[in-house]
Amino acid sequence: MLARIFEASGLSTVIVTMMPYWSERIGAPRTLAVEFPLGHPIGWPGDREMQMTVCRAAVQLLEEAAGPGEIRHLEGLTWPQDPDEARRDWQPPEPAPIIRLIRERLRALREAQEGSSGGPR
């Protein structure tokens, strides 16, 4: 959405994202997709080489894209962490308030359903 706003105002934009899913659905001017965990669009902390590879690829896409909507998938970089560990690691230490709220509502719904069916057997 921010890319669309900036591009419409006369700026040339490129998004670097771990979730090209959203560019596919909303439509973005230029997207570089990276297979990294959430919170890490440019790469591993302290890894200058990885970060420069991502930044160079983003600038190159800006230069080469011929028209709106291109999504380029950056290959050749492997996230240096076990996938299960990475899956746990990017998540916040505590669940976000909306996650807590949804869990409470689901729990209340389940309890109401169990109550109306006479309780667990």
Binding site: L11, G39, R100
Partner: protein, 169 residues
């Protein structure tokens, strides 16, 4: 191989994201590069909830905690010469540890300064920006669309910016 957006997602979260409705947005805007990239001035914009301690307050997580279906649509300025220890992260939905260790993970100021020194880009502008990526449930993008997004666009253009790198988290 195409990037899998959900590779590092717990399955329940992936399911939830994939059922979110995405309203149609219309044709994709397009601004061709005004000049070769090696002559362009760049700005960096992220949605990592960054702020500079002592300069501006964090994003309003107190209100989000009271009203979990709301997210702060405002923005914060990140000067080019910011030091790592000045950076704060106010974002309930990610682990801030790696950004607090290395700002470049989300806002690659040092990396783009190096690209400017190499002559790959023309220059890196003075002021960069952070938004906070959670905009409510269901998402309400009106704050970005009608207010803060155009405001940041104007600020960047006033600094002579040609190109913007955007790093959602």
């Amino acid at each position: 191989m195409p990037v899998d957006s959900f590779r590092f997602f717990p399955r329940s979260l992936a399911t939830w994201v994939q059922q979110l409705e995405v309203p149609p947005e219309g044709p994709v805007p397009w601004t061709p590069l005004p000049r070769p990239v090696r002559e362009c001035r760049f700005a960096l914009v992220t949605t990592a909830g960054l702020y500079v301690k002592g300069l501006e307050p964090p994003f309003d997580l107190e209100r989000e905690a009271r009203q979990p279906t709301w997210g702060d649509p405002s923005f914060r300025r990140i000067p080019r010469d910011v030091r790592q220890e000045q950076i704060g992260v106010s974002h309930f939905h990610i682990n801030p540890r790696d950004i607090l260790q290395d700002l470049n993970v989300a806002l690659p100021i040092q990396r783009f300064l190096e690209l400017a020194w190499e002559g790959v880009i023309g220059s890196l502008t003075e002021t960069h920006y952070s938004f906070m990526g959670y905009q409510g449930y269901p998402a309400d993008l009106s704050g970005w669309r009608q207010g803060y997004g155009p405001q940041v666009a104007s600020l960047m253009k006033a600094e002579g910016v040609d190109c913007v790198l955007i790093t959602p988290v």
